[in-house]
Protein backbone atom coordinates (compact mmCIF):
# COMPACT_ATOMS: atom_id res chain seq x y z
CA UNK A 1 0.00 0.00 0.00
CA UNK A 2 2.98 2.31 0.39
CA UNK A 3 3.07 2.76 -3.37
CA UNK A 4 -0.23 4.66 -3.40
CA UNK A 5 0.45 7.74 -5.48
CA UNK A 6 0.73 10.89 -3.43
CA UNK A 7 0.80 13.24 -6.43
CA UNK A 8 -2.44 14.96 -7.27
CA UNK A 9 -4.16 13.37 -10.26
CA UNK A 10 -3.10 14.93 -13.53
CA UNK A 11 -6.08 15.41 -15.78
CA UNK A 12 -9.60 14.22 -16.29
CA UNK A 13 -9.92 11.80 -19.18
CA UNK A 14 -13.60 11.08 -18.80
CA UNK A 15 -16.08 13.59 -17.47
CA UNK A 16 -19.78 13.39 -16.74
CA UNK A 17 -21.54 16.73 -17.07
CA UNK A 18 -25.08 16.94 -15.69
CA UNK A 19 -25.38 13.38 -16.96
CA UNK A 20 -28.60 11.36 -16.84
CA UNK A 21 -28.61 7.76 -18.07
CA UNK A 22 -31.30 5.12 -18.06
CA UNK A 23 -33.31 2.53 -19.93
CA UNK A 24 -36.21 3.23 -22.27
CA UNK A 25 -36.23 6.97 -21.59
CA UNK A 26 -36.42 6.42 -17.82
CA UNK A 27 -33.43 7.91 -16.03
CA UNK A 28 -31.73 5.62 -13.52
CA UNK A 29 -28.89 7.98 -12.63
CA UNK A 30 -29.35 11.75 -12.68
CA UNK A 31 -27.36 14.97 -12.51
CA UNK A 32 -24.04 13.17 -12.39
CA UNK A 33 -20.98 15.43 -12.25
CA UNK A 34 -17.87 13.31 -12.11
CA UNK A 35 -14.25 13.42 -13.27
CA UNK A 36 -12.31 10.24 -13.95
CA UNK A 37 -8.67 11.17 -13.49
CA UNK A 38 -5.84 9.70 -15.47
CA UNK A 39 -3.65 7.10 -13.78
CA UNK A 40 -6.17 6.46 -11.01
CA UNK A 41 -8.29 3.56 -9.96
CA UNK A 42 -11.78 4.83 -9.28
CA UNK A 43 -14.30 2.58 -7.56
CA UNK A 44 -18.04 3.07 -7.95
CA UNK A 45 -19.82 1.94 -4.79
CA UNK A 46 -23.35 1.89 -3.53
CA UNK A 47 -26.24 -0.38 -2.59
CA UNK A 48 -28.02 -2.57 -5.15
CA UNK A 49 -30.03 -0.48 -7.57
CA UNK A 50 -28.09 2.69 -6.86
CA UNK A 51 -27.17 3.03 -10.54
CA UNK A 52 -23.47 2.07 -10.50
CA UNK A 53 -23.70 -0.22 -13.51
CA UNK A 54 -25.97 2.20 -15.35
CA UNK A 55 -23.45 5.01 -14.84
CA UNK A 56 -20.66 2.75 -16.10
CA UNK A 57 -22.78 1.85 -19.15
CA UNK A 58 -23.25 5.56 -19.78
CA UNK A 59 -19.49 6.14 -19.61
CA UNK A 60 -19.02 3.23 -22.07
CA UNK A 61 -21.72 4.57 -24.52
CA UNK A 62 -23.74 1.37 -24.08
CA UNK A 63 -26.59 3.59 -22.96
CA UNK A 64 -27.08 7.04 -24.50
CA UNK A 65 -27.12 10.14 -22.33
CA UNK A 66 -30.72 11.13 -21.64
CA UNK A 67 -29.47 14.50 -20.45
CA UNK A 68 -26.10 16.16 -20.12
CA UNK A 69 -23.08 14.50 -21.68
CA UNK A 70 -20.05 12.29 -21.24
CA UNK A 71 -16.84 13.99 -22.35
CA UNK A 72 -13.83 12.02 -23.47
CA UNK A 73 -10.73 14.22 -23.26
CA UNK A 74 -12.99 17.25 -23.41
CA UNK A 75 -15.16 16.31 -26.39
CA UNK A 76 -18.62 14.80 -26.34
CA UNK A 77 -18.30 11.00 -26.43
CA UNK A 78 -21.29 10.69 -28.75
CA UNK A 79 -19.49 12.65 -31.51
CA UNK A 80 -16.59 10.16 -31.84
CA UNK A 81 -16.76 7.25 -34.28
CA UNK A 82 -17.41 4.11 -32.25
CA UNK A 83 -14.18 2.47 -33.41
CA UNK A 84 -12.15 5.47 -32.23
CA UNK A 85 -13.78 5.22 -28.81
CA UNK A 86 -12.96 1.49 -28.76
CA UNK A 87 -9.27 2.32 -29.08
CA UNK A 88 -9.40 4.59 -26.02
CA UNK A 89 -12.04 3.01 -23.81
CA UNK A 90 -12.28 -0.69 -22.96
CA UNK A 91 -15.22 -2.25 -21.17
CA UNK A 92 -15.87 -5.50 -19.38
CA UNK A 93 -19.59 -5.85 -18.68
CA UNK A 94 -21.03 -7.74 -15.76
CA UNK A 95 -21.07 -11.51 -16.30
CA UNK A 96 -20.23 -11.71 -20.00
CA UNK A 97 -21.51 -14.84 -21.77
CA UNK A 98 -19.31 -17.94 -21.90
CA UNK A 99 -18.30 -18.25 -25.53
CA UNK A 100 -18.45 -21.96 -26.39
CA UNK A 101 -15.68 -23.37 -28.49
CA UNK A 102 -13.34 -20.39 -28.33
CA UNK A 103 -9.84 -20.89 -26.99
CA UNK A 104 -8.45 -18.35 -24.55
CA UNK A 105 -6.22 -17.07 -27.34
CA UNK A 106 -9.20 -16.67 -29.71
CA UNK A 107 -11.15 -14.79 -27.07
CA UNK A 108 -8.30 -12.44 -26.22
CA UNK A 109 -7.62 -11.90 -29.94
CA UNK A 110 -11.16 -10.54 -30.32
CA UNK A 111 -9.95 -7.56 -28.32
CA UNK A 112 -7.90 -6.48 -31.34
CA UNK A 113 -11.01 -5.76 -33.40
CA UNK A 114 -10.85 -1.94 -33.11
CA UNK A 115 -7.26 -1.96 -34.37
CA UNK A 116 -7.94 -4.07 -37.44
CA UNK A 117 -9.00 -2.87 -40.85
CA UNK A 118 -10.76 -4.64 -43.68
CA UNK A 119 -7.54 -5.59 -45.36
CA UNK A 120 -5.07 -5.74 -42.49
CA UNK A 121 -6.70 -8.56 -40.60
CA UNK A 122 -3.97 -9.80 -38.27
CA UNK A 123 -0.66 -8.01 -37.75
CA UNK A 124 2.52 -8.51 -35.80
CA UNK A 125 1.26 -5.76 -33.48
CA UNK A 126 -1.93 -7.71 -32.81
CA UNK A 127 0.12 -10.80 -32.00
CA UNK A 128 2.30 -8.82 -29.59
CA UNK A 129 -0.68 -7.19 -27.87
CA UNK A 130 -2.41 -10.52 -27.34
CA UNK A 131 0.81 -12.05 -26.02
CA UNK A 132 1.29 -9.22 -23.56
CA UNK A 133 -2.32 -9.35 -22.40
CA UNK A 134 -2.05 -13.10 -21.80
CA UNK A 135 1.17 -12.62 -19.86
CA UNK A 136 -0.29 -9.82 -17.70
CA UNK A 137 -3.30 -11.94 -16.84
CA UNK A 138 -1.03 -14.95 -16.17
CA UNK A 139 -2.80 -16.97 -18.83
CA UNK A 140 0.05 -17.70 -21.25
CA UNK A 141 0.01 -21.38 -20.30
CA UNK A 142 -3.73 -21.65 -20.82
CA UNK A 143 -3.86 -19.91 -24.21
CA UNK A 144 -4.98 -23.04 -26.05
CA UNK A 145 -7.60 -24.09 -23.52
CA UNK A 146 -11.27 -23.71 -24.44
CA UNK A 147 -12.72 -20.87 -22.35
CA UNK A 148 -15.61 -23.01 -21.07
CA UNK A 149 -13.18 -25.42 -19.38
CA UNK A 150 -11.64 -22.66 -17.23
CA UNK A 151 -12.50 -22.03 -13.59
CA UNK A 152 -14.45 -18.90 -12.68
CA UNK A 153 -11.34 -16.96 -11.72
CA UNK A 154 -9.43 -17.99 -14.84
CA UNK A 155 -12.38 -17.13 -17.03
CA UNK A 156 -12.62 -13.68 -15.49
CA UNK A 157 -8.89 -13.19 -16.12
CA UNK A 158 -9.43 -14.26 -19.75
CA UNK A 159 -12.08 -11.59 -20.17
CA UNK A 160 -9.83 -9.01 -18.58
CA UNK A 161 -7.05 -10.10 -20.94
CA UNK A 162 -9.40 -9.52 -23.87
CA UNK A 163 -9.98 -5.96 -22.66
CA UNK A 164 -6.22 -5.53 -22.12
CA UNK A 165 -5.51 -6.66 -25.68
CA UNK A 166 -7.65 -3.75 -26.78
CA UNK A 167 -4.76 -1.59 -25.48
CA UNK A 168 -6.98 1.22 -24.28
CA UNK A 169 -5.65 3.78 -21.82
CA UNK A 170 -9.04 3.66 -20.07
CA UNK A 171 -10.64 0.50 -18.65
CA UNK A 172 -14.17 0.25 -17.33
CA UNK A 173 -15.08 -2.92 -15.43
CA UNK A 174 -18.46 -3.84 -14.04
CA UNK A 175 -18.09 -6.00 -10.93
CA UNK A 176 -14.98 -7.84 -12.11
CA UNK A 177 -14.63 -9.67 -8.78
CA UNK A 178 -18.20 -10.69 -8.00
CA UNK A 179 -18.73 -14.46 -7.68
CA UNK A 180 -15.02 -15.02 -7.05
CA UNK A 181 -13.60 -16.26 -3.76
CA UNK A 182 -11.35 -13.95 -1.73
CA UNK A 183 -8.06 -15.20 -3.17
CA UNK A 184 -9.28 -14.76 -6.75
CA UNK A 185 -10.70 -11.35 -5.92
CA UNK A 186 -7.31 -10.28 -4.63
CA UNK A 187 -5.60 -11.65 -7.75
CA UNK A 188 -7.87 -9.60 -10.03
CA UNK A 189 -7.54 -6.45 -7.93
CA UNK A 190 -3.74 -6.84 -7.76
CA UNK A 191 -3.73 -7.09 -11.54
CA UNK A 192 -5.87 -3.96 -11.89
CA UNK A 193 -3.69 -2.02 -9.46
CA UNK A 194 -0.62 -3.13 -11.34
CA UNK A 195 -2.15 -1.78 -14.54
CA UNK A 196 -2.70 1.58 -12.90
CA UNK A 197 0.66 1.84 -11.13
CA UNK A 198 3.02 0.33 -13.68
CA UNK A 199 1.22 0.84 -16.95
CA UNK A 200 -0.43 4.20 -16.28
CA UNK A 201 -3.83 2.87 -17.21
CA UNK A 202 -6.95 4.54 -15.88
CA UNK A 203 -9.38 2.10 -14.29
CA UNK A 204 -12.98 2.58 -13.26
CA UNK A 205 -14.70 -0.35 -11.66
CA UNK A 206 -17.96 -1.12 -9.99
CA UNK A 207 -17.18 -3.11 -6.85
CA UNK A 208 -19.49 -4.80 -4.42
CA UNK A 209 -17.00 -5.53 -1.69
CA UNK A 210 -16.58 -2.28 0.18
CA UNK A 211 -13.49 -3.34 2.13
CA UNK A 212 -11.70 -4.60 -0.97
CA UNK A 213 -12.48 -1.30 -2.68
CA UNK A 214 -11.05 0.62 0.27
CA UNK A 215 -7.78 -1.31 0.09
CA UNK A 216 -7.32 -0.96 -3.65
CA UNK A 217 -9.01 2.14 -5.06
CA UNK A 218 -7.48 5.62 -5.23
CA UNK A 219 -10.81 7.39 -5.44
CA UNK A 220 -14.19 6.26 -4.18
CA UNK A 221 -17.51 7.38 -5.61
CA UNK A 222 -20.62 6.55 -3.57
CA UNK A 223 -23.96 6.43 -5.32
CA UNK A 224 -27.39 6.12 -3.83
CA UNK A 225 -30.77 6.24 -5.55
CA UNK A 226 -29.27 7.32 -8.84
CA UNK A 227 -27.26 10.23 -7.51
CA UNK A 228 -23.70 10.74 -6.34
CA UNK A 229 -23.58 11.17 -2.56
CA UNK A 230 -19.85 11.31 -1.88
CA UNK A 231 -16.64 11.51 -3.87
CA UNK A 232 -13.57 10.66 -1.79
CA UNK A 233 -10.15 11.45 -3.22
CA UNK A 234 -8.48 9.03 -0.80
CA UNK A 235 -9.85 5.96 0.98
CA UNK A 236 -8.65 7.31 4.35
CA UNK A 237 -11.38 9.93 4.11
CA UNK A 238 -14.01 7.24 4.43
CA UNK A 239 -15.75 7.02 7.78
CA UNK A 240 -18.63 5.16 9.36
CA UNK A 241 -21.13 7.94 8.86
CA UNK A 242 -20.73 7.81 5.09
CA UNK A 243 -21.18 4.06 5.05
CA UNK A 244 -24.20 4.16 7.34
CA UNK A 245 -25.79 6.89 5.25
CA UNK A 246 -25.19 5.22 1.88
CA UNK A 247 -25.84 1.60 2.82
CA UNK A 248 -28.37 2.27 5.62
CA UNK A 249 -26.64 -0.20 7.87
CA UNK A 250 -24.93 0.38 11.23
CA UNK A 251 -21.20 -0.36 11.03
CA UNK A 252 -18.14 -0.35 13.22
CA UNK A 253 -14.91 1.09 11.83
CA UNK A 254 -11.55 -0.59 12.14
CA UNK A 255 -8.13 0.14 10.74
CA UNK A 256 -6.38 -2.38 8.56
CA UNK A 257 -3.31 -3.22 10.64
CA UNK A 258 -1.01 -3.19 7.60
CA UNK A 259 -2.34 -0.51 5.29
CA UNK A 260 -3.81 1.72 7.99
CA UNK A 261 -6.85 2.16 5.75
CA UNK A 262 -10.36 1.93 7.14
CA UNK A 263 -12.30 -1.32 7.19
CA UNK A 264 -15.99 -1.54 8.03
CA UNK A 265 -17.89 -4.37 9.61
CA UNK A 266 -21.62 -4.56 10.18
CA UNK A 267 -22.64 -4.07 13.81
CA UNK A 268 -23.62 -7.21 15.64
CA UNK A 269 -27.36 -7.55 15.67
CA UNK A 270 -28.80 -5.68 18.63
CA UNK A 271 -31.26 -8.46 19.33
CA UNK A 272 -29.12 -11.58 19.16
CA UNK A 273 -30.96 -14.81 18.60
CA UNK A 274 -31.28 -16.93 21.65
CA UNK A 275 -28.52 -19.53 21.68
CA UNK A 276 -29.09 -22.91 23.18
Amino acid sequence: MTSRSADPPTRSRLTAEALSVGHGGQAVVQDIELDIFEGCMTALLGPNGSGKSTLLAGFARLLPALGGSVRLDGSDLATFPTRHVARVLGLLPQQPPVPEGLSVFDLVARGRFPHQGFFSQWSRQDEAAVGEALALAALADLADRPVETLSGGQRQRAWIAMVLAQETPLLLLDEPTTFLDAAHQVAILDLLRDLVRRHRRTVVCVLHDLNMALQYADRLVFLKEGRIRHVLTHPSQCDGRIIEEVFEMPVVSLKHPQSGLPVFLPCASRQPEARP
Binding site: A86, P97, P99, S103, A109, Q116, Q121, A143, D144
Partner: protein, 337 residues
Protein backbone atom coordinates in the same frame (compact mmCIF):
# COMPACT_ATOMS: atom_id res chain seq x y z
CA UNK B 1 2.22 -17.31 -30.37
CA UNK B 2 2.33 -17.51 -34.14
CA UNK B 3 1.89 -21.22 -33.90
CA UNK B 4 -1.21 -20.79 -31.79
CA UNK B 5 -2.99 -18.34 -34.04
CA UNK B 6 -2.13 -20.36 -37.11
CA UNK B 7 -3.49 -23.54 -35.51
CA UNK B 8 -7.01 -22.21 -36.08
CA UNK B 9 -6.16 -21.21 -39.62
CA UNK B 10 -4.71 -24.58 -40.56
CA UNK B 11 -7.75 -26.34 -39.07
CA UNK B 12 -9.89 -24.10 -41.23
CA UNK B 13 -7.73 -24.82 -44.28
CA UNK B 14 -8.06 -28.55 -43.75
CA UNK B 15 -11.81 -28.25 -43.45
CA UNK B 16 -11.95 -26.16 -46.63
CA UNK B 17 -9.87 -28.73 -48.52
CA UNK B 18 -12.06 -31.56 -47.26
CA UNK B 19 -15.19 -29.67 -48.27
CA UNK B 20 -13.81 -28.93 -51.77
CA UNK B 21 -12.87 -32.55 -52.41
CA UNK B 22 -16.29 -33.79 -51.27
CA UNK B 23 -17.87 -31.15 -53.49
CA UNK B 24 -15.82 -32.30 -56.50
CA UNK B 25 -16.70 -35.96 -55.96
CA UNK B 26 -20.40 -35.13 -55.58
CA UNK B 27 -20.34 -33.00 -58.73
CA UNK B 28 -18.85 -35.86 -60.75
CA UNK B 29 -21.36 -38.37 -59.31
CA UNK B 30 -24.17 -35.95 -60.03
CA UNK B 31 -23.21 -35.44 -63.67
CA UNK B 32 -22.65 -39.16 -64.24
CA UNK B 33 -26.09 -40.00 -62.99
CA UNK B 34 -29.05 -40.29 -65.30
CA UNK B 35 -30.97 -42.53 -67.65
CA UNK B 36 -27.96 -42.72 -69.92
CA UNK B 37 -24.70 -43.79 -68.24
CA UNK B 38 -21.83 -41.64 -69.44
CA UNK B 39 -18.23 -42.55 -68.60
CA UNK B 40 -16.07 -40.02 -66.79
CA UNK B 41 -13.68 -39.68 -69.74
CA UNK B 42 -16.51 -38.52 -71.98
CA UNK B 43 -17.49 -36.03 -69.27
CA UNK B 44 -14.05 -34.53 -69.32
CA UNK B 45 -14.10 -34.45 -73.10
CA UNK B 46 -17.44 -32.69 -73.17
CA UNK B 47 -16.13 -29.93 -70.92
CA UNK B 48 -12.69 -29.53 -72.49
CA UNK B 49 -13.46 -30.03 -76.19
CA UNK B 50 -17.22 -29.98 -76.68
CA UNK B 51 -18.51 -31.59 -79.85
CA UNK B 52 -21.91 -30.24 -80.95
CA UNK B 53 -22.88 -33.43 -82.72
CA UNK B 54 -22.04 -35.93 -79.99
CA UNK B 55 -25.26 -36.77 -78.13
CA UNK B 56 -23.44 -37.48 -74.86
CA UNK B 57 -21.84 -34.06 -75.00
CA UNK B 58 -25.22 -32.48 -75.58
CA UNK B 59 -26.70 -34.28 -72.61
CA UNK B 60 -23.86 -33.20 -70.36
CA UNK B 61 -23.58 -29.60 -71.50
CA UNK B 62 -27.20 -28.65 -71.80
CA UNK B 63 -28.88 -30.88 -69.20
CA UNK B 64 -26.60 -32.28 -66.53
CA UNK B 65 -23.98 -29.57 -66.11
CA UNK B 66 -26.59 -26.81 -65.74
CA UNK B 67 -28.47 -28.88 -63.20
CA UNK B 68 -25.31 -29.57 -61.17
CA UNK B 69 -24.37 -25.88 -61.40
CA UNK B 70 -27.83 -24.90 -60.20
CA UNK B 71 -27.34 -27.13 -57.15
CA UNK B 72 -23.91 -25.67 -56.46
CA UNK B 73 -24.88 -22.01 -56.84
CA UNK B 74 -28.25 -22.39 -55.14
CA UNK B 75 -26.89 -24.56 -52.32
CA UNK B 76 -24.00 -22.18 -51.67
CA UNK B 77 -26.42 -19.25 -51.48
CA UNK B 78 -28.78 -21.12 -49.11
CA UNK B 79 -25.90 -22.27 -46.88
CA UNK B 80 -24.34 -18.81 -46.70
CA UNK B 81 -27.74 -17.20 -46.08
CA UNK B 82 -28.46 -19.52 -43.16
CA UNK B 83 -25.12 -18.88 -41.51
CA UNK B 84 -25.43 -15.09 -41.88
CA UNK B 85 -28.92 -15.16 -40.44
CA UNK B 86 -27.91 -17.33 -37.47
CA UNK B 87 -24.86 -15.23 -36.61
CA UNK B 88 -26.64 -11.91 -37.06
CA UNK B 89 -29.59 -12.94 -34.89
CA UNK B 90 -27.37 -14.89 -32.47
CA UNK B 91 -29.79 -17.78 -32.86
CA UNK B 92 -28.72 -21.14 -34.20
CA UNK B 93 -32.30 -22.06 -35.09
CA UNK B 94 -32.72 -19.12 -37.44
CA UNK B 95 -33.29 -20.76 -40.82
CA UNK B 96 -34.45 -18.91 -43.93
CA UNK B 97 -37.15 -21.48 -44.69
CA UNK B 98 -38.56 -21.51 -41.16
CA UNK B 99 -38.40 -17.72 -40.75
CA UNK B 100 -40.39 -16.98 -43.91
CA UNK B 101 -37.68 -15.81 -46.30
CA UNK B 102 -38.27 -18.67 -48.74
CA UNK B 103 -42.05 -18.22 -48.69
CA UNK B 104 -41.68 -14.46 -49.24
CA UNK B 105 -39.35 -15.02 -52.17
CA UNK B 106 -41.72 -17.61 -53.68
CA UNK B 107 -44.66 -15.27 -53.37
CA UNK B 108 -42.69 -12.53 -55.12
CA UNK B 109 -41.66 -14.85 -57.96
CA UNK B 110 -45.23 -16.13 -58.42
CA UNK B 111 -46.66 -12.60 -58.34
CA UNK B 112 -44.16 -11.28 -60.89
CA UNK B 113 -44.56 -14.33 -63.17
CA UNK B 114 -48.36 -14.28 -63.06
CA UNK B 115 -49.22 -10.61 -63.26
CA UNK B 116 -46.06 -9.26 -64.88
CA UNK B 117 -46.50 -5.71 -63.56
CA UNK B 118 -43.25 -4.99 -65.32
CA UNK B 119 -41.49 -7.29 -67.74
CA UNK B 120 -38.46 -8.25 -65.69
CA UNK B 121 -35.31 -9.31 -67.47
CA UNK B 122 -34.14 -12.66 -66.06
CA UNK B 123 -31.18 -11.06 -64.36
CA UNK B 124 -33.50 -8.96 -62.16
CA UNK B 125 -35.74 -11.84 -61.04
CA UNK B 126 -33.40 -12.78 -58.15
CA UNK B 127 -33.65 -9.23 -56.87
CA UNK B 128 -37.45 -9.30 -57.04
CA UNK B 129 -37.40 -12.58 -55.10
CA UNK B 130 -35.01 -11.03 -52.58
CA UNK B 131 -37.40 -8.12 -52.07
CA UNK B 132 -40.14 -10.63 -51.34
CA UNK B 133 -37.90 -12.49 -48.89
CA UNK B 134 -36.89 -9.25 -47.16
CA UNK B 135 -40.50 -8.06 -47.03
CA UNK B 136 -41.94 -11.13 -45.38
CA UNK B 137 -38.97 -11.54 -43.02
CA UNK B 138 -39.27 -7.86 -42.07
CA UNK B 139 -42.86 -8.57 -41.08
CA UNK B 140 -41.76 -11.62 -39.03
CA UNK B 141 -39.17 -9.46 -37.23
CA UNK B 142 -41.63 -6.64 -36.59
CA UNK B 143 -44.26 -9.01 -35.18
CA UNK B 144 -41.82 -10.90 -32.98
CA UNK B 145 -40.43 -7.66 -31.54
CA UNK B 146 -43.92 -6.24 -30.96
CA UNK B 147 -44.41 -5.17 -27.37
CA UNK B 148 -41.10 -6.45 -26.08
CA UNK B 149 -38.74 -4.61 -28.42
CA UNK B 150 -36.53 -7.70 -28.55
CA UNK B 151 -36.26 -10.46 -31.09
CA UNK B 152 -37.35 -13.44 -29.07
CA UNK B 153 -36.11 -16.57 -30.91
CA UNK B 154 -39.17 -18.65 -30.16
CA UNK B 155 -41.61 -15.92 -31.22
CA UNK B 156 -39.55 -15.48 -34.39
CA UNK B 157 -39.99 -19.15 -35.28
CA UNK B 158 -43.74 -19.00 -34.56
CA UNK B 159 -44.35 -15.91 -36.66
CA UNK B 160 -42.04 -17.25 -39.38
CA UNK B 161 -44.10 -20.43 -39.66
CA UNK B 162 -47.42 -18.55 -39.51
CA UNK B 163 -46.48 -16.00 -42.18
CA UNK B 164 -44.91 -18.71 -44.36
CA UNK B 165 -48.23 -20.56 -44.26
CA UNK B 166 -50.02 -17.35 -45.19
CA UNK B 167 -47.68 -16.68 -48.12
CA UNK B 168 -48.00 -20.28 -49.31
CA UNK B 169 -51.78 -20.00 -49.18
CA UNK B 170 -51.59 -16.87 -51.34
CA UNK B 171 -49.29 -18.68 -53.75
CA UNK B 172 -51.76 -21.59 -54.03
CA UNK B 173 -54.68 -19.22 -54.58
CA UNK B 174 -52.85 -17.36 -57.33
CA UNK B 175 -51.81 -20.57 -59.02
CA UNK B 176 -55.30 -22.07 -58.92
CA UNK B 177 -56.64 -18.95 -60.60
CA UNK B 178 -53.88 -18.97 -63.22
CA UNK B 179 -53.35 -22.36 -64.74
CA UNK B 180 -50.65 -21.22 -67.12
CA UNK B 181 -48.44 -20.08 -64.28
CA UNK B 182 -49.18 -23.27 -62.37
CA UNK B 183 -48.00 -25.33 -65.32
CA UNK B 184 -44.88 -23.19 -65.55
CA UNK B 185 -44.00 -23.20 -61.84
CA UNK B 186 -45.32 -26.55 -60.61
CA UNK B 187 -41.97 -28.26 -60.23
CA UNK B 188 -40.09 -25.14 -59.21
CA UNK B 189 -42.49 -24.64 -56.32
CA UNK B 190 -41.54 -27.87 -54.56
CA UNK B 191 -37.86 -27.20 -55.13
CA UNK B 192 -36.41 -28.40 -58.35
CA UNK B 193 -32.88 -27.99 -59.61
CA UNK B 194 -33.72 -29.05 -63.19
CA UNK B 195 -35.58 -25.80 -63.81
CA UNK B 196 -34.20 -23.16 -66.05
CA UNK B 197 -31.02 -24.64 -67.48
CA UNK B 198 -27.77 -22.81 -68.05
CA UNK B 199 -29.38 -19.43 -68.78
CA UNK B 200 -31.11 -19.40 -65.39
CA UNK B 201 -27.87 -20.23 -63.58
CA UNK B 202 -26.04 -17.41 -65.34
CA UNK B 203 -28.80 -14.96 -64.52
CA UNK B 204 -28.54 -15.46 -60.74
CA UNK B 205 -24.75 -15.47 -60.62
CA UNK B 206 -24.36 -11.68 -60.26
CA UNK B 207 -26.79 -11.53 -57.34
CA UNK B 208 -25.19 -14.50 -55.56
CA UNK B 209 -21.67 -13.17 -56.14
CA UNK B 210 -22.72 -9.79 -54.75
CA UNK B 211 -24.21 -11.50 -51.70
CA UNK B 212 -21.17 -13.69 -51.06
CA UNK B 213 -18.71 -10.80 -51.33
CA UNK B 214 -20.83 -8.63 -49.04
CA UNK B 215 -21.11 -11.52 -46.57
CA UNK B 216 -17.32 -11.92 -46.52
CA UNK B 217 -16.90 -8.21 -45.78
CA UNK B 218 -19.31 -8.45 -42.84
CA UNK B 219 -17.51 -11.37 -41.17
CA UNK B 220 -15.05 -9.39 -38.97
CA UNK B 221 -17.88 -7.28 -37.51
CA UNK B 222 -20.07 -10.36 -37.03
CA UNK B 223 -17.22 -12.12 -35.20
CA UNK B 224 -17.74 -9.75 -32.26
CA UNK B 225 -21.43 -10.69 -32.01
CA UNK B 226 -20.79 -13.99 -30.26
CA UNK B 227 -19.38 -12.13 -27.25
CA UNK B 228 -22.71 -10.45 -26.54
CA UNK B 229 -24.06 -7.10 -27.59
CA UNK B 230 -22.36 -5.03 -24.87
CA UNK B 231 -18.92 -6.29 -25.81
CA UNK B 232 -19.63 -5.83 -29.54
CA UNK B 233 -20.39 -2.17 -28.85
CA UNK B 234 -17.39 -1.82 -26.54
CA UNK B 235 -15.13 -3.26 -29.24
CA UNK B 236 -16.35 -0.63 -31.68
CA UNK B 237 -18.54 -2.80 -33.92
CA UNK B 238 -21.52 -0.99 -35.41
CA UNK B 239 -23.99 -3.56 -34.14
CA UNK B 240 -27.25 -2.29 -35.63
CA UNK B 241 -25.80 -1.40 -39.01
CA UNK B 242 -24.00 -4.73 -39.25
CA UNK B 243 -27.10 -6.68 -38.27
CA UNK B 244 -29.27 -4.89 -40.83
CA UNK B 245 -26.63 -5.34 -43.54
CA UNK B 246 -26.34 -9.04 -42.72
CA UNK B 247 -30.12 -9.48 -42.94
CA UNK B 248 -30.26 -7.65 -46.29
CA UNK B 249 -27.50 -9.91 -47.64
CA UNK B 250 -29.35 -12.94 -46.27
CA UNK B 251 -32.46 -11.89 -48.17
CA UNK B 252 -30.43 -11.34 -51.34
CA UNK B 253 -28.77 -14.77 -51.17
CA UNK B 254 -31.94 -16.54 -50.20
CA UNK B 255 -34.10 -14.78 -52.80
CA UNK B 256 -31.59 -15.54 -55.54
CA UNK B 257 -31.44 -19.21 -54.61
CA UNK B 258 -35.24 -19.47 -54.45
CA UNK B 259 -35.62 -17.84 -57.86
CA UNK B 260 -33.32 -20.51 -59.30
CA UNK B 261 -34.14 -23.78 -57.55
CA UNK B 262 -37.36 -22.97 -55.70
CA UNK B 263 -38.09 -22.71 -51.97
CA UNK B 264 -35.79 -25.50 -50.80
CA UNK B 265 -35.58 -25.66 -47.02
CA UNK B 266 -33.08 -26.56 -44.33
CA UNK B 267 -29.86 -26.26 -46.37
CA UNK B 268 -29.08 -23.10 -44.40
CA UNK B 269 -29.58 -25.06 -41.20
CA UNK B 270 -27.60 -28.17 -42.11
CA UNK B 271 -24.58 -26.54 -43.74
CA UNK B 272 -23.34 -24.70 -40.59
CA UNK B 273 -24.37 -27.61 -38.33
CA UNK B 274 -21.91 -29.87 -40.17
CA UNK B 275 -18.96 -28.05 -38.60
CA UNK B 276 -18.54 -27.86 -34.84
CA UNK B 277 -18.89 -24.45 -33.25
CA UNK B 278 -18.63 -22.46 -36.43
CA UNK B 279 -21.08 -19.85 -35.13
CA UNK B 280 -18.59 -18.72 -32.51
CA UNK B 281 -15.90 -17.89 -35.01
CA UNK B 282 -17.33 -16.20 -38.09
CA UNK B 283 -14.49 -15.60 -40.52
CA UNK B 284 -13.84 -15.54 -44.23
CA UNK B 285 -12.86 -19.22 -44.07
CA UNK B 286 -15.96 -20.16 -42.07
CA UNK B 287 -18.20 -18.35 -44.53
CA UNK B 288 -16.66 -20.08 -47.55
CA UNK B 289 -16.85 -23.40 -45.71
CA UNK B 290 -20.56 -22.97 -45.09
CA UNK B 291 -21.25 -21.86 -48.65
CA UNK B 292 -19.36 -24.88 -50.03
CA UNK B 293 -21.13 -27.22 -47.61
CA UNK B 294 -24.48 -25.84 -48.74
CA UNK B 295 -23.51 -26.61 -52.32
CA UNK B 296 -22.46 -30.15 -51.36
CA UNK B 297 -25.69 -30.78 -49.45
CA UNK B 298 -27.87 -29.68 -52.34
CA UNK B 299 -25.82 -31.76 -54.80
CA UNK B 300 -26.15 -34.82 -52.56
CA UNK B 301 -29.90 -34.23 -52.16
CA UNK B 302 -30.31 -33.91 -55.90
CA UNK B 303 -28.32 -37.10 -56.54
CA UNK B 304 -30.75 -38.91 -54.25
CA UNK B 305 -33.73 -37.15 -55.82
CA UNK B 306 -32.64 -38.43 -59.22
CA UNK B 307 -31.49 -41.88 -58.20
CA UNK B 308 -33.65 -43.07 -55.32
CA UNK B 309 -36.71 -44.02 -57.37
CA UNK B 310 -35.18 -43.86 -60.85
CA UNK B 311 -36.50 -43.43 -63.46
CA UNK B 312 -39.02 -41.39 -61.42
CA UNK B 313 -37.46 -38.12 -60.24
CA UNK B 314 -38.30 -36.79 -56.80
CA UNK B 315 -38.35 -33.05 -56.11
CA UNK B 316 -35.01 -31.93 -54.63
CA UNK B 317 -36.81 -29.95 -51.92
CA UNK B 318 -38.46 -33.11 -50.59
CA UNK B 319 -35.05 -34.65 -49.97
CA UNK B 320 -33.63 -31.66 -48.06
CA UNK B 321 -36.84 -31.60 -46.06
CA UNK B 322 -36.45 -35.29 -45.19
CA UNK B 323 -32.88 -34.73 -44.00
CA UNK B 324 -33.29 -31.20 -42.64
CA UNK B 325 -36.37 -31.54 -40.49
CA UNK B 326 -34.70 -34.10 -38.15
CA UNK B 327 -31.64 -31.81 -37.88
CA UNK B 328 -33.93 -28.94 -36.91
CA UNK B 329 -35.73 -31.08 -34.32
CA UNK B 330 -32.39 -32.28 -32.97
CA UNK B 331 -31.16 -28.68 -32.55
CA UNK B 332 -34.39 -27.66 -30.79
CA UNK B 333 -34.28 -30.72 -28.53
CA UNK B 334 -30.68 -30.00 -27.60
CA UNK B 335 -31.63 -26.44 -26.68
CA UNK B 336 -34.51 -27.61 -24.53
CA UNK B 337 -32.47 -30.07 -22.49
Amino acid sequence: MTAMSSAGHSRERHALLLMLSVLAVLAILHIQQGARPIPATVMLDAVLSPDRDAFDHFVILSLRLPRASACIVGGAAFGAAGFLLQVAMRNRLAEPHVLGLNAGASLAVVLVTTYQPVVLPDILMPFAASLGAAGLFGLVLALSALGSGRFDPVRMVFFGIALSALASALVSAILILNEDTLEQLRFWLVGDAAGGGAAAVWSILPAVALGLVAGCLLMPQLATFSLGESISVALGASVHRTRIAALVVTALLCGSAVSLVGPIGFVGLMAPALWPRLHQRPSLGAFLLVAGSGAAILLAADILALGLLAPTELPTGALTGLAGAPVFIWLVARRLT
